[in-house]
Subunit: 190 residues, 2 copies
DNA sequence: GCAAACATTAACAGATCGGTACATCTTCGC
DNA sequence: GCGAAGATGTACCGATCTGTTAATGTTTGC
């Protein structure tokens, strides 16, 4: 299997797991939908869990690349980018096939704190916080990390409710809260 | 099977599904851990899905009863109760066996919008919004329902991050945001 | 005490689970 | 053209999945 076919397999598996869930999706279906045999999959991934980890690595890259780029496209300043995140989320919520956050779902299906899938899922969230904190610092906020963690809470809450309600409205509802955090209060320094 | 035994079965199943996940838990395990035979379970529930629905009904009652009572115990005013919700959540996050929100997980494992489990999971969130909106109205806020929806976003975001990070800190981080919504802004009417 | 009604159980279907053994096919050096 | 090496597909493994069948206990009315 070439590098390309391997990447394509991971990308196919991503789509199936995202649509169907992890435990609910069998490796036979992954093989069939990917157009490769199960044996070939197991040549490259020792277990289903390892395939899932590869899927999550791809998703982490894809999602952060998309979100951060979109934030930059929508706003010029760091402060504006943090707010624009919620507009980007709204686009995602309205897109065909939106089914919530893959990492939340992976963490929910693999709850054990020792599980590599559980740890890797949260690592994605930490990378998001890092980026938010960088932007918050650049915008001149004191305690940028605390602000970043609050923005993460807003983002995850909006994703969960949008997915459960099948309605993109939570994006703007969360944005309104973020505006008060970023623009409104007495305790921002710039 | 008596009414009591049936209720106890549902309560047992709740614990197992909450700890293990829905798809990852087989009916044989539910039967074994509940001390009843699988046949007896299927006498009362036609399918696994029906058992899950019964579990979610119980969880909805239990959780709302607990949360609303705790909010009342912790604060006297409607406004205070809305803030105290996050203190109650913090207690939950620190409790043994906390594993996130059962309805978020159910919704994640049964994603189809037509699925009764999916719909019932979101119905729980709507009942929470109703209660928040009642309190926000009693506190004199205009647009109480919009505020209630924002509080829901904060609550769900805090739960998701607390569960993923195995850390109760998001409760107070979300509370700080709620304080700005409830107390800080120019656009509250009382 | 006895029969009807109900609850419970072990054993079993048929399908599918994650994962593998082995035979076949392709590819490549030379 | 041909042999070695790796990729692929088929068919299978034991375990487990949801759900059922048929036999056994247990309660209850009278």
């Amino acid at each position: 299997m070439s590098r390309n076919k391997r990447d394509e397999l991971i990308r196919n598996a991503l789509g199936i797991f995202y649509r169907n869930g992890f435990h609910a999706t069998g490796m036979d279906l992954v093989a069939k939908e990917s157009g490769v045999s199960k044996t070939s999959i197991y040549k490259h991934f020792r277990t289903k869990d390892e395939l899932i980890l590869a899927v999550l690595r791809l998703r982490d890259e894809d999602f952060r690349n998309w979100l951060f780029r979109r934030m930059e496209e929508l706003a010029a300043t760091p402060q504006g980018q943090l707010l624009a995140m919620f507009d980007a989320l709204e686009e995602w919520f309205m897109a065909d096939g939106f089914q919530g956050c893959m990492f939340i779902k992976a963490s929910a299906e693999f709850q054990n704190a020792d599980d590599a899938i559980n740890r890797q899922s949260y690592a994605h969230k930490e990378l998001l916080v890092d980026h938010f904190a960088r932007l918050a610092g650049a915008a001149g906020h004191d305690a940028p990390r605390a602000l970043a963690r609050q923005l993460l809470i807003l983002k995850e809450g909006a994703i969960v409710i949008a997915a459960m309600s099948h309605d993109p409205a939570p994006a703007q509802e969360a944005r309104a809260i973020a505006e008060r955090l970023l623009l409104g209060g007495a305790d921002i320094s710039v």
